[in-house]
Symmetry: C2
Subunit: 225 residues, 2 copies
């Protein structure tokens, strides 16, 4: 029994570490995809695309690890919540990775054409989105629901920046129809970043559920306490 406990503890540690590894890769992907755009560095954009393979492999490994633990270890209530939340969080992380790849691909396309305007709001969106994800994962590791709640507030900032970019691009394209195709590519980058922030928000919401699941103020979750 002691031996089994040690395997189980090791699996929980492995799960936590793998999630943080994926988190680290996709955080970096957010930053680098927008850096590739701002600095017109298509080699960096291609590195983001290449790195996504690791994310996809790790997602499968995490899913399998979770299923194995659920099947063989009969985890106690709080570990059970941890494992099922991990199953959900990894899906968000994998999609953030996909979205960063989409940004990188658009950057490659835009880097081949003359610049429209210097990018100001888009790097800011990426910065906030990356910070949200980092904070959500830190909150997960530290079981810190207060920190997770900060993430929810930051999502509004990203939404506002997105709407600013949208309005500005409509104006530019209306005045200067020759930039329409490029304007739409830029708009999609802004949209991808806005969705990355949404996924970081999902992670934060799941962390709050994970931390407060046993809270009697959430009567529906009492059965899991």
């Amino acid at each position: 029994m002691f031996h089994t406990d040690k395997i189980y503890e090791a699996e929980l540690t492995e799960l936590r570490e793998k999630l943080l590894t994926v988190g680290g890769i996709v955080e970096q992907a957010i930053v680098r995809s927008v850096q590739a755009l701002a600095e017109r560095d298509s080699a960096l954009a291609r590195a983001v695309v290449a790195d996504d393979r690791r994310v996809n492999l790790l997602e499968v490994e995490i899913d399998e690890l979770c299923l194995r633990m659920l099947a063989l270890r009969q985890p106690a209530a709080s570990d059970l919540r941890f494992i099922t939340i991990a199953l959900k969080i990894v899906t968000d992380l994998e999609r953030i990775g996909d979205l960063a790849v989409n940004v990188a691909e658009r950057a490659i396309q835009l880097n081949e054409q003359p610049p429209v305007r210097p990018y100001v709001d888009i790097p800011r969106m990426a910065e906030i989105a990356e910070d949200m994800l980092k904070k959500a994962l830190d909150a997960f590791v530290a079981s810190d629901a207060a920190k997770a709640r900060e993430v929810l507030e930051q999502d509004n900032e990203v939404d506002e920046l997105y709407h600013m970019v949208f309005r500005e691009l409509v104006e530019i394209m209306t005045a200067e129809p020759s930039v329409t195709a490029r304007g739409m590519a830029i708009l999609f980058i802004a949209k991808h970043l806005e969705r990355i922030a949404d996924h970081a928000t999902n992670v934060a919401e799941m962390v709050i559920f994970y931390v407060e699941g046993r809270d009697v103020r959430h009567p529906k979750s009492r059965v899991l306490a």
Copy 2:
């Protein structure tokens, strides 16, 4: 023990029924959001927005039911796969619901302005996306991996239609800058439908995993057999 088994069977049935209920609501939301656009029917669009509340409530209920079953019933391998896949599928269904709401909101906005062009490809995209989701859920109920694989092929059709819409809208907006704002709203609708098809593809992929998880040709999944 017999009594517990009966509760457990009832819970599995409840889980399956709730998933199919959510599936039915979001299938209808896809169809109606695009109908609201094509027929300029904003009342119908608002009904789609209102219905999404039910989806969100059911998502929470499904998550809680899955966690309760995992915690209390020590499910056998194939049921365990069913429950964990249900946890993932409901996330995709909930996001499809959100995307249909986004389509409905854009439809309301477009219905207040003069039409740009009759919609041809967009209703076709919605039709295929809805069919994909229906097929994926039928495949889930029937444990039919072959049917789930059909969904993966249909996703390419939707992607092609999306790219056609994209190119056509760039042409229209470049030639006629006054329609830029409306063109972008239409483009987002096409993008939302393309993502709905992606989520239906995710569901289909999970059904394949669910059905073939015990298959020895997938050595990594053997532990779950």
